[in-house]
Subunit: 341 residues, 2 copies
């Protein structure tokens, strides 16, 4: 086994003092440490694969050095929490950042009727990163238990917990406007469940914004919502091909669904983008692998994971600091699934 990388190695690599390394990694950054120095330290940590000594930190701060990550399970008995590969990509990014800060992840798909607060208390979790809950879900138990929580992709805005997400309404606008700019007028919207203040509702608002801006009518019959998954994408595309012959483009709000849409269009005897153009959302690797390559709204998943961990550690270190809502920027990535009319 190779020699363990020490804080001294990192200091040498970054050209700063070990104290500076320690400040940066413990989120105790004062104004005297510049953003450039933080970037240098993070780059050196990454290059060398440095991991802080866990037991020393735990003893000093009385922490478990564990962060819980809760991945949504929508149905009892559902097995695969990564049925959407977005979660795997997000978890990879979270794990990497946590590891460089000396933290481990306790992951869990929640089961129906089970409180994660109990799990958090049993294992003494320092913080929890929670995905895919709706504003209507009950999180008061976390407040009472004083467990630092980071909400991911949740429009809650109660300023009690940090949150990280994207501007989903803007993302819906970007996707739809991209298609309108290329001459499409009849554009279907395909998503998972549209819940009040959920990401899909926001993306649907963005879809309507783009239609309104272009003076195009909103047609409720072109909105399809079901399960976020490859199979639902296939079914819906076949249905659209059958009953909506004037549709020339589909915006699917997750790449995994968009991949299914491409398959379904092909199964219906049509081609992408020859007959139907497709835009996805996320830019997971599926967008790259699908054929044709998928034009999509890219969210920087690596950055989202990194920010989620940084916010979690900030909540641990500075419990009384004001809570932040961080939005990761979005951009269109053009591949080969859209044609101009």
């Amino acid at each position: 086994m190779a020699r363990r990388v020490t804080i001294r190695d990192v200091a040498r690599e970054a050209g700063v003092s070990t104290a500076t390394i320690s400040y940066v990694l413990n989120n105790k950054v004062s104004e005297s440490i510049t953003p450039e120095t933080i970037a240098k330290v993070n780059a050196a940590v990454e290059r060398l694969g440095y991991v802080p000594n866990l037991s020393a930190r735990s003893l000093r701060y009385r922490r478990s050095n564990l962060i819980g990550v809760v991945i949504p399970q929508t149905e009892p008995g559902k097995e695969f929490m990564f049925s959407n590969p977005f979660y795997g990509d997000f978890l990879s990014a979270v794990e990497y950042t946590a590891r460089t800060r000396g933290y481990r992840l306790l992951i869990s798909g929640t089961s129906v009727g089970q409180s994660y607060v109990e799990i958090a208390q049993n294992h003494g979790l320092d913080a929890i990163i929670i995905l895919g809950i709706y504003p209507s879900d009950d999180i008061d138990a976390y407040k009472e238990a004083k467990i630092p929580l980071v909400l991911v992709d949740c429009y809650r805005n109660d300023h009690f917990f940090h949150s990280v997400g994207t501007n989903d309404r803007h993302g819906g606008y970007l996707a739809t406007n991209h298609l309108i700019q290329r001459g499409h007028r009849r554009i279907a919207f395909v998503s998972g469940a549209v819940e009040a203040s959920g990401v899909n509702q926001k993306r649907l608002f963005g879809y309507r914004d783009a239609l309104d801006e272009a003076g195009l009518p909103f047609d409720r019959n072109l909105v399809f919502s079901g399960n976020v998954g490859y199979e639902y994408g296939i079914e819906t595309a076949r249905q659209i091909a059958r009953i909506c012959p004037d549709v020339t483009a589909i915006f699917a709000t997750a790449d995994i669904m968009a991949a299914g849409v491409i398959k379904g269009v092909s199964e219906a005897g049509l081609s992408v983008p020859g007959d139907i153009s497709v835009v996805g959302f996320d830019d997971i690797f599926v967008a790259n692998i699908s054929s044709p390559g998928l034009t999509t709204v890219r969210q920087n998943i690596k950055e989202k994971g990194r920010v989620a961990v940084e916010l979690a550690l900030d909540a641990v270190d500075n419990p009384s600091s004001p809570k932040r809502d961080v939005a990761i920027p979005l951009e269109i990535v053009e591949r080969d699934s859209v044609r101009s009319l």
Copy 2:
């Protein structure tokens, strides 16, 4: 929040006593409990999404109810442990089975120079499931620390730890023979690093077995090994198209590489399966999404994850029981990436 599902609900659903449920879930199965009953119990647990009461179990057995899962990181600073989606699928299956047994997962990509034994001891892990280590790696520290370990895809055979894997040599034979039966004679082999007694070496042996059986010569120039990844698949396919014009088929030892091979063949102006047939390995969802659909050697990843957890719990509950090496069966799944010559 829905009412918590209790052991009584599961007993009613399965039509057995609560004692039987408890025996099955605690791996204390005697001969009086039939395999049919075990299947009924597991089905009921799955249908209802039942999770045993963690704290009651912990108190009774003095356990952390935590299982560590270690995912390989081959390079310092490498971020994404799920660069091969196989790991995400495997982890999903492990998480689900662990959850139904009242266990949580502590996941970690290991970093260079870091001992996972220390992590296991700090967090009092009950057992560790470890992927992708080579027989030459040092695991004596786990023996000394008496930490139950389950080795996944490791040909170690020291009978000190349980292991679960597949017959990789047979898998290599199945893939290659499938191509030979369809008239292919010049078949390239594309894999990750071929290490002594690693899975890729076994698959290469299987490839040679099939060639030998058919009386075809083994040509070292048709063996390509690099990184297990989409990009390496693309590069290698382009190289094969350029320098090996007589190759009509490629066996890639991971679906993620095979997806890259399909892309690379297309970038070289050739078609799959028109010019080059492709067979993969794993049957992750990428095999289904790729276009054309990928013919591949299917390993039941869900079963592999389930067995890994069952073996881990067996090692915890019955430390002195003989160690088992479980092989998950393999089979060819035919899609559209192979044509007959």
